[in-house]
Symmetry: C2
Subunit: 502 residues, 2 copies
Amino acid sequence: MRMICRGLVAALGLTTAIAATAQTPNRGELAAAVKAGHAANVQALQDWIKLPTIAAEKLNVVEGAEHMRRLALDAGFQQATVVQTSGVPGVFATLDAGARDCIGLYFMYDVKQFDAAEWSSPPLEARIVDRSGEGKAIVGRGAVNQKGPEIAFLAALKAFKATGRKLPVNVVLVAEGEEEIGSPNFKQVIANPAVLPALKQCIGVFIPGAGQSSTGSASVELGAKGIVELQLIASGEKWGRGPSKDVHSSLMASVDSPAWRLVKALGTLVKDDGHTPAVAGWFEHVKPLTARQKTLIAEAAAKDNEADVMKGLGLKKWIADEDFTTAMQRLASQPTINIQGLVSGYMGPGGKTVLPGRAEAKIDLRLVPDMTREDAVAKLKAHLVQHGYPDIEVNVSGGYDPTQTEEDSLLVRTQKAVLERAGVAFSVEPRAAGSWPGVVFTGAPLNLPAGGFGIGRGSGAHAPNEWYLIESANPKIAGLDESAMFYVDYLYEVAAAAKRGR
Amino acid sequence: MRMICRGLVAALGLTTAIAATAQTPNRGELAAAVKAGHAANVQALQDWIKLPTIAAEKLNVVEGAEHMRRLALDAGFQQATVVQTSGVPGVFATLDAGARDCIGLYFMYDVKQFDAAEWSSPPLEARIVDRSGEGKAIVGRGAVNQKGPEIAFLAALKAFKATGRKLPVNVVLVAEGEEEIGSPNFKQVIANPAVLPALKQCIGVFIPGAGQSSTGSASVELGAKGIVELQLIASGEKWGRGPSKDVHSSLMASVDSPAWRLVKALGTLVKDDGHTPAVAGWFEHVKPLTARQKTLIAEAAAKDNEADVMKGLGLKKWIADEDFTTAMQRLASQPTINIQGLVSGYMGPGGKTVLPGRAEAKIDLRLVPDMTREDAVAKLKAHLVQHGYPDIEVNVSGGYDPTQTEEDSLLVRTQKAVLERAGVAFSVEPRAAGSWPGVVFTGAPLNLPAGGFGIGRGSGAHAPNEWYLIESANPKIAGLDESAMFYVDYLYEVAAAAKRGR
């Protein structure tokens, strides 16, 4: 998840290639080590893609955690441990460089489901392909979301290891294997008595990301919406009306229909515009955008190419025919109730004369500050009861609250500084419409700044033919090696800024 | 289709085994021939089940027609021809016995789709199993709907052939291979210049059916609802709003949703009871049940076991908590708009964060006299336009008008007579809630009586573990041989009644 909005922002007026910062000692030596490790790093990414962890399918949840642990040790973490939860395990690793300051890293090692038939290159083969005008890319599930950028960060650490150099900051890594199902157990990893004190030492936490658009612009992310994933299920069994199984469709005259019941219940959840949440009290805790947030979004929209964005989405109009800036402000500010999927009865070609005994809507709720997962679910359930649908099952499968970080935090200031020094144009993004469980860091008890961060490029998260650029044909856009060196520079930036006064 | 209502009716007070009628000459000889042919007839049914024609999947449409043609020739039809249509072909066969009168036969040789994983015996293996208390049955897709009963009728013809006896009436057979998708091209078979004049000679047309309930009662069917099968599709492509493909679900804040659009459009089609059609003018041509029809339904309901019926359907309550008689009268009298299935976006386990570019509802409309398919579809389309959904695609995949036959027609009178002579209790069923394309016979230009007819027993049409009884443990219920002899008796009944004055 997480890449929406970020990927929509493109830059103008960028004229120089990604520059080295003056702050990084021994940069040539480290860059040579990154280059020397290139083939091994690409291979590591390919091997990782070949081992997909898919929490929804309980696929490789144990193997994925163990693989993550080994990757951390290989990159120079002195210790790495699999942390058990009541669900999919997490991984905790520490790299103590004897430095004064510490940066937190968040990785996800799970990926979204895929349908191999929709891919032009097999999703688990991680083939290297030429992308016209872009360079060499790896195609595979998880390539950009999030294994590619994570390998780039590990490549930075490996350069220190290869050259025998000490990192300027200590690093704490927490990784999870169920981000794609809404991180139902990740809080347990954070709360682990070994993990929590280590994270408390950090100036903030970030997840590596390939944040560059086609023109090379990047973004600094200040927050993201929360999410609740749930299924609404109508069934004869729970309802006590209608059939307990699929029956012949001619019975519709005298038998109640769970499918119609679901349709009618769903119909009460959004207004007739098919969009605006109609659940009572849904907007009670919604904080409007600040003037600064609106300005930042308008600035980003002004730099972006609306036509390209719409083309990429197969879209002719934003809702209510809004202009781009308004649509982007809406994207950041509005909570949503989305139908991910509908499942009932016969779903093959043509028709089949059944009256289904069960119907399911797969839903996600996106939450903005100060909404909470708990309150949103409670309001949804109350709404269904109030509208006469107490039998509709609300099966919450995951989710978390929104996350927000202050623009003047040390984490964000150092991110801006290293992008400026690297000559990478960027926008400050007040809030991604996508979601990530940053609230485990930005919320109590840690209350740390947190966000996604990085350069490099890729696309297709959750879609067929997901890709991540490893060798860039455009000097303004980072490949794997440039991304790794950017993280090297960033670690020095954090150390220097922290020294100047945190 | 077609078996609903019929299967709901059970008899009381039946004390004798199925009796021979006095009207059938050489009955012992013919019965011996049926018995001698038993193994071959069972084998023929098994072979037929192993060759499923599924029009929705274009499976065995050519092979199925050719097989039907050979079955007809084997049974004694002097000619049998595959009749091409613009879709799945039909079969036309004639057996000229030199008799004065003629009876029409309608066969379907296609079957409904199946999911083998749901079956306890493989759906195409046609295994013979013991059904506790019932006897030996063949389990397989098409066993009762409609290959078993059709084989029983062919077995009757083969007995005449084996004994060198002439049939007392001529027989005209028309068969189709796309009944399960709403017979989109069957009118072309009827209209064929070789077929139409032959059918015009007949006193009526019937399709063999295994119409006995668990207590042995049968039914005489006077009509059936019409049907329209269609898919309602909302898509970004047709709408000009929302995405043309599945996109990331976080975009819901600024991008219109075809899935919500479908839900909202569907919501206008039935009232908030989730049941009553709300399309403008839907009831304009609906003829209420006559007093005689109501009485017939009440009589049938009084003889049936409501608890067994509800248990079979997994049902605790009829709609509006109606009593059995009212529910059965509603079943016969009310037109319906049923959701067969819902298809959109992600449909696997758990959730997936997409905003689907397309959503589809599979719908069937059941029509009662004097509704027509054409008028119903026109009203549905007008309704969608009027409610602001002109972009919702209405993809009609098949259907036909309702069918109705007079109770005092020669066809029905002879059916009643042979049932009475055989000592089989029966109900007269004014209108089946299920559908069959009888209107091609009862409507212009033929205007013939037509309906389903037969004894024997089976169940599970359109469901897993469909079965047809070949050897009955209950003397009041026919197996394959008794069903065949019943058709022998019926042919003599028709000849005698026609002779007495048609």
